[in-house]
Point group: C2
Chain length 226, copies 2
DNA sequence: ATGAATTTGTGAAGAAGGTAACAGATTGCG
DNA sequence: CGCAATCTGTTACCTTCTTCACAAATTCAT
């Protein structure tokens, strides 16, 4: 394993770079500097250069980065040519919206099925994606080599569902429920907690009401920015 | 401003604590220790104690934390008794799902309206929330004292929409679009980038395939955990 | 060809966050 | 009551991430 040393935060930014480079490539731009990337992505240029430097010496002094080369490099690094199959569990409001979200077109991630326990939903399709009974989870997951689940069930059944999908061999969960899931250490969970995000945003606004004159307020705001 | 020193990460965890304390309160639990909270929320107990210590000396040695007291304290601190009005802009798949999500019941955050430019949607309701034309944005935002927007428009119009809502006096944006918005420094943006989250999760799984025997893999996994 | 302008990669410093470890306070058992 | 068990608050340290600042390489204009 060559690349163990890439910081977590850097790994999270790589898809961002990748996406923007695709855009640059599409409009025919040949070169780009860390300053330009910084402008577009609002990330400090030193941070950008540092991020790339973890992957190798990808730029050239006095020139910047070659868009095609960098794009290709990131494509390989992020394995953007492999399609990853995922499934979604919990076809409620949010689940349905995500089934329609079409991660696939742009990002080589394909939702092959949705799962739910509501008999009214089982057997239907959302945007061409079949909704199946949880009874068939393991079978379907194994058939499609699925290792990642998008979890959008109600909080009350989150843990039980997690147990079931982990038992079926799932290794990654994108958890939209507020529950903190208990899983074996080899299963990776990323949380997206919509309520908390909204609350935290509101918290900062309430605690630090901006007053146009105050330089302090602006600094603080900066310091706390995502 | 007394509480400028609360670390950003702590602020993000406070709603988590609050939510769990509500649960404990509901089942009649009177006291709780940082170890118990740690178990439930999967946050290191020292981190939890440190978080609370920013707010004051809320616990008692040899006893732990009084659930009612702590809950009340956090309620005040997080201003959970004030209702915050927000609006949602972009009533597509995701937007519709979020309108139905009902942040309100549990968290004193009320979506008072959705906005869109599609004539077919304008004038309809989603779960009792009216969908209005963007022409009326400023008027309605001012009427309801709205300072926060949930932004779920297509990426292509994200910046233009942001300009418009900022111009109308909005101070916080929960940005679900992949666009990195350019806004004045007094406007706070929190990003929720669904595609990137999924990609990052997949990246970690691909790069660090778990091999049951390898202690290193497990450590790394731990180190990279969200 | 020359020199000014650009721009990277990185060393060094600093900021932010996490956690081990423990003194001191309190509880609660016997 | 007395003593072991419990549990906080915090000090000290460690890790992770960010950013400044600059030498070195390259480009570009003239």
């Amino acid at each position: 394993m060559e690349d163990q040393k890439i910081p977590q935060v850097t790994a999270k930014r790589l898809p961002l770079y990748y996406r923007y480079l695709e855009k640059l490539h599409a409009i025919g731009k040949k070169r780009v500097s860390s300053a330009q990337l910084s402008e577009a992505l609002q990330i400090d240029p030193a941070t950008i250069r540092r991020d790339f430097s973890y992957l190798g010496e990808l730029g050239k002094k006095g020139y910047g980065y070659n868009v095609n080369y960098l794009l290709q490099f990131l494509r390989d690094f992020l394995r953007q040519d492999e399609v990853t199959n995922v499934v979604l569990v919990g076809v409620g409001n949010l689940g349905t919206a995500l089934l329609r979200y079409n991660f696939y077109r742009s990002h080589n991630t394909k939702i092959v099925a949705g799962f739910d326990n509501d008999p009214a939903k089982i057997g239907t399709e959302v945007d061409g994606i079949p909704v199946l009974s949880m009874d068939r989870f393991k079978e379907v997951a194994e058939l499609h080599n699925v290792e990642v689940v998008i979890l959008t069930v109600p909080a009350s059944v989150a843990q039980a569902t997690a147990d079931q999908i982990v038992e079926a061999g799932i290794r990654g969960i994108l958890n939209f429920t507020p529950a903190r899931l208990n899983v074996p250490p080899n299963v990776r969970i990323h949380h997206i907690d919509l309520t908390t995000e909204l609350q935290t945003l509101i918290y900062f606004l309430k605690k630090f009401p901006v007053d146009e004159e105050s330089e302090t307020a602006r600094e603080m705001d900066e310091a706390h920015k995502n």
